[in-house]
Symmetry: C2
Subunit: 518 residues, 2 copies
């Protein structure tokens, strides 16, 4: 069987879509709760009912060890009591933790087909955080296992087989995996072993690993991230093109009395209040939660943690749909300095930025928020400044520079009356001179996102030098004969027009006229 992703909305490299697996459908990006096959703190059926969850993952190796015949007889869906998509992990994580497993790739492959996993993973050898030599070995071993699995069961059986990308931080090894899986006809890919990076807060390397995988994989095929850990990084992963991610944190953290929040984790004894509206936090106070009997506490914390994970995914989908994924990242980046660093890192990578620019819609449901110079990395801004550089004037007589306050619709007629007086009968081009985009020709001013951008006044002041320098370059490049700067009544930045005029007078060897309409 093959999986197919139907993309509905895109922003940055994230997408909202529907993953088709056999006859079943899952909305993506999808949070995939890890289900312990032995002992379930929140039953899968309850997770489905409460959160509309369409996909879970469980461990084929543990099923194989503990419930082999029952699993084959009942099928994995009935065994764990979940009628959505059931994904099974091969036991790769057990390899990472215990060094090896007592089952061959063949055993695990046949087993997953025979219990009817909807999505199955060939037995892989996670790279983890190791040196080059060791990483090569894990990739070789993984590729050998995967080839063997494809040979044995192919893509024609009951399972959608996933290509487990290993190679960790080594780009060429990741490339090697992806190339081989493309050749082997995989329709779904997964990225292995980010957990050691996450537990060490090495988010910068994590995003680098995801970005590399997306780059070599291209943007069409769906990508699963193993062990995504904490909801504070879901948005970063999705923004880089991750379509689904599993996590056991809701239960693991709950077991250790840790309460998940969208921006971090708090130990139960470090909670004075419960900043959450879920059923658990509505029913109990922090004190009451602490005083629950251990089993009850575990279940309620796990349930709360699930609420936070699913809520975060809804926030991400809403952000993609609205076209505000970048704004969501700006907020998430302030959850932890390591996330901030990862966020900065993503938007310094030219290859990722260029792919993002291709995949971010040209027009959006809502305008843009810019906060500081970091915000200028976003694809809509970069794309627009690129367009502005390519624009050419239709008249070279004169360039008239005015404030954005003069070109709001109700003042436009007045403006042209005034310009006729000042400039006379000759033709001229009008530019808006005080935007974070720099000099904007009036004809482009109402093109998305320029006039739909909201920014603090401080930003233009902060960018003043850059704006002045680039204005001079633009005006010189086009070869306008005359530059006219008109100061209008309401200046956002007092003295700005005069200063700009002075700067242009100094840097351009042209006639620069400064006049006021006040």
């Amino acid at each position: 069987m093959k999986a197919e992703l139907e993309v509905k909305h895109k922003d940055l490299l994230g997408r909202v879509g529907v993953l088709h697996v056999g006859g079943k459908k899952v909305e993506t990006p999808a949070f995939v709760p890890v289900i312990n096959p032995v002992n379930q703190v929140v039953p899968p059926e309850e997770i489905r009912r409460r959160f509309g969850c369409g996909i879970v993952i469980t461990n084929a190796y543990i099923l194989y060890k503990r419930f082999r015949s029952k699993a084959v007889e009942e099928g994995v869906q009935r065994l764990i009591g979940f009628d959505g998509v059931v994904m099974t992990d091969s036991g790769g994580y057990q390899v990472l933790v215990y060094g090896d497993v007592e089952a061959s790739p063949d055993d695990i492959a046949f087993f997953q087909e025979s219990i009817g996993s909807d999505i199955a993973v060939p037995l892989d050898k996670p790279t983890g955080l190791v040196g080059r030599r060791e990483a090569e070995k894990t990739v070789e071993e993984t590729l050998a296992n995967v080839r063997r699995t494809v040979e044995l069961v192919g893509h024609g059986g009951r399972c959608v087989w996933v290509g487990p990308v290993q190679g960790g931080l080594y780009r060429d090894l990741v490339q090697k995996c992806v190339d081989e899986y493309k050749r082997l006809g995989f329709s779904l890919y997964c990225l292995g072993s980010p957990t050691p990076l996450m537990t060490a807060y090495r988010y910068r390397e994590l995003v680098s690993m995801i970005a590399t995988t997306r780059q070599v994989l291209g943007t069409v095929k769906p990508l699963h991230l193993f062990g995504a850990g904490h909801p504070m990084m879901f948005a970063l992963a999705v923004a880089l093109g991750v379509d689904m991610f599993d996590s056991a944190s809701y239960a693991l953290f709950a077991k250790e009395d840790r309460y998940i929040l969208p921006e971090g984790t708090v130990r139960l004894e470090q909670l004075s209040h419960l900043p959450c509206s879920c059923e658990v936090c509505t029913r109990f106070s922090a004190k009451e939660l602490r005083e629950l009997e251990s089993g009850e506490r575990f279940r309620n914390l796990a349930l709360h943690n699930l609420f936070v994970c699913f809520q975060e995914v809804e926030a991400i989908k809403q952000a993609i749909w609205e076209g505000r994924m970048y704004e969501l990242l700006e907020r998430k980046a302030r959850s932890h300095p390591a996330l901030y660093e990862a966020f900065q890192y993503i938007f310094r990578d030219e290859e990722t930025l260029q792919t993002m620019a291709l995949h971010t819609p040209l027009s959006k449901r809502r305008g843009l928020f810019l906060f500081d110079t970091t915000s200028l990395q976003r694809p809509e801004y970069r794309r627009m400044t690129e367009w502005l550089r390519r624009w050419t004037p239709s008249c070279l007589e004169a360039a008239v520079l005015v404030s954005h306050k003069a070109v709001v619709n109700r003042r436009l007629e007045k403006l042209f009356e005034m310009l006729a007086k000042v400039v006379g009968d000759g033709c001229f081009e009008v530019f808006v001179h005080d935007t974070p985009y720099g000099l904007v020709p009036l004809s482009l001013y109402h093109v998305f996102p320029i006039s739909q951008t909201t920014y603090p006044e401080t930003l233009v002041k902060q960018l003043e030098d850059k704006i002045f320098r680039e204005a001079a370059e633009t005006l010189a490049k086009h070869g306008f004969k005359k530059i006219i700067i008109i100061e209008t009544r309401r200046e956002t930045y007092p003295g700005y027009s005069r200063k700009l005029a002075h700067s242009l007078q100094t840097s351009l060897s042209k006639e620069v006229v400064y006049t006021t309409s006040k």
Copy 2:
């Protein structure tokens, strides 16, 4: 009656406390839902039950017009069905909207006493956004009304009377109000008419108004903010010392099919998903919510909006308790550029910063997160750099500069062994040279918050020039005879030690030795 605020935890100018009103208690900061006395979309009793809400506000003027005798007979608590603290507004907002009201200050004062309001407001004349002349007039009129009310009913009756601070953006007028209310013996203050500022997203002026009020009022007396509007600004208001704030937005927005989120408002038709875990958002999808019959939709949206408002207050209390109010503000600031601007503005105001430094605890439950240079405005950082400036060395023979990586506990012994070899028998002071705090004497390195600070590696690189310059100043000031920079095995910033050595060699006329322990 007088009110009293018992402060339990403080951070920045925010505090978690208990407001005592008669025999009743309210936890602060308190969100005070506005109850429409005529038509209640969510009954006050339900708000109390669901959210543990201890205080609501309703409008004395409307009660006076519509239910005069019934209100006097039953008391306001029974009339609206709320047995917590009931605050009544005088009708000042009606003055702002309709120009005047058909009741004298005396009528409104006697009426509030006779219906047994727990907290009552003298009929004030909101300043709104007007010119100086007009503002003076509103303050004069408000003061006259307030004096008259105090004369008539004093502070000995059933109500706690609130001093309504007017004067808008004029500091001297605010000062005039506060001085007069202190003289008149008010125990609770409220700040009027921020609504026009908020609906215009003029958050910078709003925080300026709040900061001014706190400055002239001092930090002891509790302060109420009228019409606080949106949960995205609750944290800013609390960080400036607001203890309670009312808002009708939950209902007003719901009426217009607007869905509140902690970081903004979304029109119902602009929602594809519901990023919230409350009862309403768990029961309905965005589509189902849109398709509800209008009355049901209103009620469910209002209920959801209340969940978000109360949740935000819990997040604020938790942040104060943890000592992470600044981190919360950093995130909230990215909700809207106008909020970001207001946030920046607060932390540029020297008077506010100094008061904050006094009120922010010296030690906290959790360490500090620094993100970028903006984070360096926070009081803990400023205070520590101040202390570092006052530190004096006990030995002037030599200053030894090492990386923070060399002073983590398990390496300290090794470090001193190595130092003995390099420096010899003479005495020396050890400094850590690569922290965002600049040069830190080893003796202070484990004092909160230095070694409890988490920051992106990029920050120290970004601050390099500043760190090098200040290091030179510090070393010159103390007059060390010799400077020794030791490069240890793991440098966080490759080449940093060597660069620092070079910089000090250039700027200091001392012996600067650069050596390596690798």
